[in-house]
Amino acid sequence: MIRAGRVHARMVRAIVRKDLTEFARDRLWMVLTPLALIVFAAVYWLLPATVDESVTIGVAPPALAAVLDLASLAGDARADSPRIVPFADEASLARAIDDGRPAPDGDRAEPVTIGLAFPADFLLAALTGREPTVRLHVAGSVPPELQGALTAAVREAAFAASGSPLPVTLPAADALVLGPDRSGAQLPLRERMRPLLAFFVLLTESLALASLLAAEVSSRTVAAVLATPARVLDVIVAKGVTGTALAFSQATLLLLVTRSFDANVLPLLAAVALGSVLMAGVALLTGAAGRDFLGTLFLGVGFLIPLTLPAFALLFPGSVSTWIQVLPSHGVVQAIHGAGALGLGFGDLAVPFATGALWSLALFALGGWVLARRVASA
């Protein structure tokens, strides 16, 4: 019912100025916004900045620990290569893993998380071509891929001892880990958290804009605006500019505080800008659909939780399926992670940027359309 027409810069400026004043006077968001920044920055700095790649492997009986050079087979002679700790028997080894106790020699505090219990006649069996059973004890915290690696290590040890391979089969891969190979250069948890924290900031600002928008629609102040020469397109663009500016400034501030701009400033800023547009689009959508603050919050959270999944997936690589790539936020998250944590440039991130841009524009257009319809029926 309402025609859009072209955008009037004067109207957009006036509405943005008014919106920012309203935002600055909203006690809830003026408390939540800095609080969220402080909390997210604190979470970042409190997380470990390094990756502990060391692992302590218990071996029983002790004789085999001395004979089998498992450490050199599993890695190299670096300080973070597996440390072999002998145990008197399988039972004591299992207890140590169950209890999470430190290694019995006491020189290092790391608990034993993996144990290899060899049969007493392991070497003889391997040499005579029989198939001995090696029991692998692992703590619940050990990732499955490490279990596979140890199986391979045992097989190699048997091969070294006997000269012939053991019939060990490895499980087929059922998950695809995307991204560059970070073997030997794993990202610390805080670096993997960065996109998630930035995304939470964008989410907070998205909810702020949505609630302001819902208030504007429900109080019908927007009807008063549209009774002036301002058009509905001016309102939509102004709300988008306000939301994008708020989200972008807060997310950029967080990235500054977390020292994320050491390299690749432009790709990272571009990625954050894309995320801000995406969230502004979500805010238009939820703000227009919500009837009041609680309704908007409910809608907003319900809509935004799925969008955080790609960021969570970075925390636990390989833990989710590839379907998350279809989520609107996947490209943006990959772009933020790639530029901020992996140091990738525009060329490397062309696909995430392209999909992020498409989704951002699509959501913004959808949000604008819903808002225009809501305004027309107000």
Binding site: K18, E22, R220, T221, A224, A227, T228, P229, A230
Partner: protein, 303 residues
Amino acid sequence: MRAVTETTRTGSAPRTGPRPLALDVRALRFAYGDRIALHGIDVAVAPGEVLGFLGPNGAGKSTTIKVITGQLLPSGGEVRVLGMDVTKRRSEVQARIGVGFEEKNLYASLSGAENLLFFARLFGIGRPDVDGLLARVGLSERGHDRVSGYSKGMRQRLMMARALINDPDVLILDEPTDGLDPTSARTIRDLIRERAANGTAVLLTTHDMWEADELADRVVFLHEGRIYAEGPPEDLKLRHGKRNVRIRFREDGLVREVVVPLDGPDASQRLAQATAGVDLLTVHTEEATLETVFVEMTGRGLT
């Protein structure tokens, strides 16, 4: 362009010749889906004229206002403001009209002055006389306070100031004195009279029949999307209402009362007979009100 013949408050005789219309609505139709809200109505307001736009809730008043102000596109018919087609020159039309909404749709976290400044910016007014407007509606002292702390009357007065921020040629007011205390209501009515006297065309919707009678040069009765009657309040009352004189007198030590109808022939004679030779106590005229006229015409009240 159509024109109206200006009439006096009693509707008895034209004051001047025809003048161009400030607001000219012809055969306006509008439908919300299958539900027809307006069945081809005609409304005209001349510069300096106050038109009372009356009708119960759901009659189509708000829809008409939304179409006039360019918020809705008509399903049919034509709306011209100051000679401009609203559907074709919406921005130009909106720059020349002021709208006072029924709901107090003000920005509560902004001050009164900030509300006015914001709307002045939307109208492209470089240096609006915000302080002057606030003074005119009696908000000088509270103009820089946030609207969230305003009373209902103060909000309504600020709404009026907002409607005047662009010095409009056409003023559209929806229930401008609804729920106000007498002093605030009087301030608003004085402003409406003042604007009309300065040549602004005023379209006024109200449930207050006394107010319509007091302010409007003409009234339109809208019901179920159709216009039932139109004309000066006095004309409508004379045309559709009953006129009586209630006479109280003392007789044999008792107070008695008779009602003399003035309609029909020989009214003067009947009145003379009723008052001749009696100990008169009071004489009251009983005129029809706009509400009774409306009820008589539509079969229902205005609320």
